[in-house]
């Protein structure tokens, strides 16, 4: 720890290792936004209820507003910025959200898409009911739920195809 109370952390984000400075109480959300400028990670409620700050930690969705940054070391962190392929091609889940316009103001969209990726990795044959249950922790105040569900079901079908 330096005299300013800062720790030097090593974070594995979107396939690369970053050395960042953070105080012990800083959340992963704060570090991703303020230091790595990953603006797809967004604070909504600050208490883990809305899902706007969702990232995947070793493939599991977590609220980055609740996770202290030092505790995210040694984990693989995926944000929306890391979801596209090496040459920029969209992930099938992203393409499904575009094709069904599963968004309005889009502030919640990265969180929804990452939760959808996790859902379909855990449950490749997810039913509508499973999807609703799994995505209950992501809130869309614009109320785009109908089109989000269509996006999720279409993404499932795309990913299932050989």
């Amino acid at each position: 720890m330096d005299e300013d109370g800062q720790l030097t952390l090593s974070l594995h984000v979107n396939g690369r290792t970053h050395r960042v400075k953070a105080r012990a109480h800083h959340t992963l959300l704060e570090v991703l936004r303020t230091q790595l400028k990953l603006f797809g990670v967004r604070e909504g409620c600050g208490v883990g209820m809305c899902g706007a700050c969702t990232v995947l930690l070793d493939g599991k969705p977590v609220s980055s507003c609740l996770l202290l940054a030092p505790l995210a070391q040694e984990k693989d962190i995926l944000t929306i910025e890391g979801l596209q392929g090496a040459s920029g091609e969209l992930h099938p889940v992203q393409q499904a959200y575009i094709d069904h316009t599963g968004f309005q103001c889009s502030y919640c969209t990265p969180g929804f898409i990452l939760s959808t990726v996790a859902l379909l990795s855990e449950h490749p044959d997810a039913t509508e009911d499973q999807a609703r249950e799994y995505l209950t922790g992501n809130l869309c105040r614009c109320g785009s739920y109908v089109k989000i569900l269509e996006s999720v079901m279409d993404a499932r079908d795309r990913l299932r195809r050989p």
Partner: protein
């Protein structure tokens, strides 16, 4: 006729799914300071002492500001507000609600700013506080404002009625026909009281502002739906010409009315000015809750009806709780007041509507703009009347709904009426049958409910747009309409592309930057696709005229003989004489063609009678709900909901569905669980753990009908129209299922259970 142009979805969809949408909170400037606010912990008190010396001495703190530092300055005015200049940027002498900002701290390190807040000591002399509008109207009630607040340059059609020393912030009255004669003619007269609580907009992106004040200019990047009103107010506060103030608005992460008029901009700009550094202020969620709310209201509604079901008179008295500062309350109570007339042809209507100051967070614009509260009253009451008269609520509505040639409550003759079609579509979609009995399955019971509403759009209003037809034939649209997820940029691109018959990807719609983009009154009131759309059509027609003239000169024909199609100007009947727009521009050495358009509506209401032009056209919507009530727990689950809305012409079918589905989800929360809960003025649920939003689990099966009438050649905004029907449709379904009539939102399990017990106990 051929279907006019449409586009489905959003033009910048890729940015939206890759996290690259530009929001205000992404912006930063070199040397930027972070602001944090100390807020009042008591609802009403005199500030007897503020000691900020320890905070000022904390290393890393750049500035600590209190109201005391501002009240005698001559270079800036520390008060703002769209109607009354009654809201200080930081409390001066007095705090008026729990959450009122008292001091601001600036530091480079946000942690230091947070630490400094705890080093500020404030001493209060507590004053009696008032929270209920009816109590606030008593002579003995404490005064929220000691003297009537100064009126700013306000809306031209707004007349202020305030008492010299009372908590009445403003009053609106409407007198149509002779209401007492109407009641005398009526066979039945019913009087009922309805209440709606304060709720919060909860945009997932909270308010944020980044400000810079240097070189005689003030620039803000802000989360606002009203860039030009904000610009004008900052100019007034800093005594600058409007041209010296620049408002830039990136995409909004939701607005729903809550980002209308000045919010953080005045304080952030003053902080930047005094610190001589750029300043960013970004609210935490608990601060967002106390920044602006929907108006809580008590509506006493008396309706006279003939035995044949014709409503002949209605008298409404509305007490809107406008909180500690006026914001847009003085205007909202007008719309909410006359809205109580409903979509019914009632010859005699009397409305008294009050905005009342209390010691609660300020209430202002909220999706629905008073109409949700009014519709909760009149659509619930109409159902109660149907039950009392043993008649079918669908037939009773059909009997009274406005048709072409009727006069609305403001006395205008209405045309292009679609209420009956909308109600019929909604009812049919859920299989409404008046004879259907509630379905009892185990300990649950299912039934259906209906509603139908009318809503105005802000009138008079003005939008302007500019376009540049570039040297390659592509188009830049310069507009101050704010994109907040409603898809306004895509809608405007459809219009521009259609006018020149070019591919939509050749059109770029600007970001809002008041240095560049021309005047627009506001992105509110479901008005942009209509008002800005019309301004843009005029601007495009301006460019079309110029193209036609250039082509006529080029080909030595009359401009009437030229057609613009597929990006080319061609002589009719002589296809070989044709030039691309780009060729015409370069041959004429014009650089680009500039087009400008203005769309302005006229209207306004007489201040004594509330009669006149309330709306340039009237928004029309209906809803039908099927609910399941758990008789053991009182919990209501909405199973199916159908929203029907009149759209005139749909430019973007997917976006039209999204706006309607979104309104339904928004209304679902307000119907069943959203409520700001206070104890002694202290908000108890200022977080998303305790304040519930509709999630996937609450979502019913949703259907949407966006009704078009292409012959009328008019676009109706649909951003709000489907919201007000939701709450009464659900309440009416709960009544049919259980016999329990809820008159105060939200319809919580506790209220349902209490109602069931009362029915059981007789």
């Amino acid at each position: 006729m051929t279907r006019p142009a449409q586009y489905s979805g959003m033009l910048d969809a890729t940015d939206r799914v890759t996290g690259r949408v530009d929001y205000t909170i992404n912006h930063e400037l070199p040397g930027m300071l972070h602001a944090r606010l100390l807020r009042a912990t008591t609802p009403h008190a005199r500030i007897t002492r503020i000691d900020a010396s320890r905070a000022r001495d904390l290393p890393g703190v750049a500035l600590v500001l209190t109201g005391e530092d501002l009240k005698n300055r001559r270079d800036v005015t520390p008060y703002h507000g769209p109607v009354f200049r009654d809201q200080p940027v930081l409390a001066i002498d007095k705090v008026r609600y729990v959450g009122d900002p008292v001091a601001a701290v600036l530091a480079e390190d946000p942690d230091v700013a947070a630490q400094a807040l705890e080093l500020i000591d404030v001493e209060y002399e507590h004053l009696p506080a008032v929270f209920d509008p009816l109590e606030a109207l008593r002579d003995s009630a404490p005064r929220v404002h000691d003297s009537p607040p100064p009126l700013g340059a306000t809306f031209s059609d707004l007349v202020i009625h305030t008492g010299p020393s009372s908590n009445i912030c403003n009053q609106f009255q409407l007198r149509k026909g002779d209401v007492e004669r109407g009641f005398a003619e009526a066979d039945f007269v019913f009087e009922d009281t309805f209440r709606s609580p304060a709720v919060q907009h909860v945009p997932l992106e909270t308010h944020a502002c980044l400000a810079q004040a240097e070189g005689g200019r003030v620039t803000v990047w802000s989360t606002t739906q009203t860039p030009h009103p904000v610009r004008a107010q900052l100019a007034e506060m800093f005594r600058l010409p409007i041209s010296a103030v620049r408002v830039i608005v990136p995409n909004l992460g939701g607005g729903y009315g809550g980002k209308s008029y000045t919010k953080l901009e005045p304080l952030t700009a003053i902080l930047a000015y005094l610190a001589r550094r750029p300043v960013r202020l970004h609210l935490r969620r608990d601060e967002e809750f106390v920044t602006i709310t929907k108006h809580a209201v008590i509506i006493i509604m008396k309706t006279g009806i003939k035995a044949d079901g014709r409503i002949v008179a209605r008298k409404s008295t509305c007490y809107f709780n406008t909180g500690a500062y006026a914001d847009i309350g003085p205007r909202l109570i007008k719309n909410g007041g006359y809205a109580t007339g409903g979509p019914h042809a009632i010859p005699n209507v009397w409305v008294d509507s009050y905005a009342v100051y209390t010691n609660l967070p300020p209430a202002g614009a909220f999706r629905g703009y008073g109409v949700s509260q009014a519709a909760w009253a009149y659509e619930t009451q109409l159902d109660m009347i149907a039950a009392r008269m043993h008649t079918d609520p669908y037939d009773l509505r059909m009997r009274n709904l406005l048709v072409d040639g009727d006069t609305v409550m403001t006395g205008e003759v209405i045309h292009d009426c679609h209420f009956r079609e909308l109600l019929s579509r909604a009812a049919q979609a859920i299989g409404w049958d008046a004879d259907e009995q509630p379905q009892r399955v185990g300990n649950t019971v299912r039934a259906k409910g209906l509603s139908c509403i009318i809503k105005s759009t802000v009138t008079p209003s003005t939008s302007t747009a500019s376009v540049k037809l570039n040297e390659d034939g592509s188009v830049n649209v310069l507009t101050s309409s704010v994109e907040m997820g409603q898809g306004v940029k895509t809608a405007l691109a459809v219009i521009a592309a259609e006018k020149l018959d070019i591919p939509i990807d050749q059109v770029h719609v600007s970001e809002v930057d008041t240095d560049v983009t021309p005047y627009d009154q506001q992105t509110t009131s479901s008005r942009s696709t209509h008002s800005m759309g019309n301004a843009l059509m005029h601007a495009m027609d301006d460019v079309r005229e110029q193209l036609l003239r250039l082509a006529a000169e080029e080909f030595e024909v009359f401009s009437e003989d030229v057609v613009l199609k597929g990006g080319r100007a061609s002589v009719i009947g002589s296809p070989s004489r044709s030039a691309a727009y780009s060729e015409l521009i370069s041959r004429a050495r014009r650089g680009n063609l500039l087009g400008h358009g203005t769309f302005s509506t006229a209207g306004g209401l007489d201040p004594e009678t509330g009669q006149g032009i309330g709306s340039v056209h009237w928004h029309q919507g209906a809803g039908a709900a099927e609910v399941e009530v758990d008789l053991d727990t009182g919990r209501v689950q909405v199973l199916r909901y159908h929203g029907a809305v009149y759209a005139g012409r749909v430019l973007n079918p997917v976006q039209a569905e999204l706006q309607t589905e979104g309104s339904i989800a928004f209304g679902l929360g307000q119907a069943l669980f959203e409520e700001m809960v206070y104890d002694g003025g202290q908000l108890l649920n200022a977080n998303l753990g305790d304040y519930m939003l509709a999630s996937f689990k609450d979502l019913p099966e949703i259907g949407v009908s966006a009704v078009e009438h292409l012959e009328a050649n008019e676009i109706h905004g649909i951003g709000e129209t489907s919201l007000p029907p939701v709450m009464p449709a659900i309440g009416n379904a709960v009544y049919r299922a259980t016999g329990v009539r809820i008159q105060e939102l939200p319809i919580t399990p506790e209220k349902v259970l209490r109602g069931l017990r009362e029915l059981r106990d007789g």
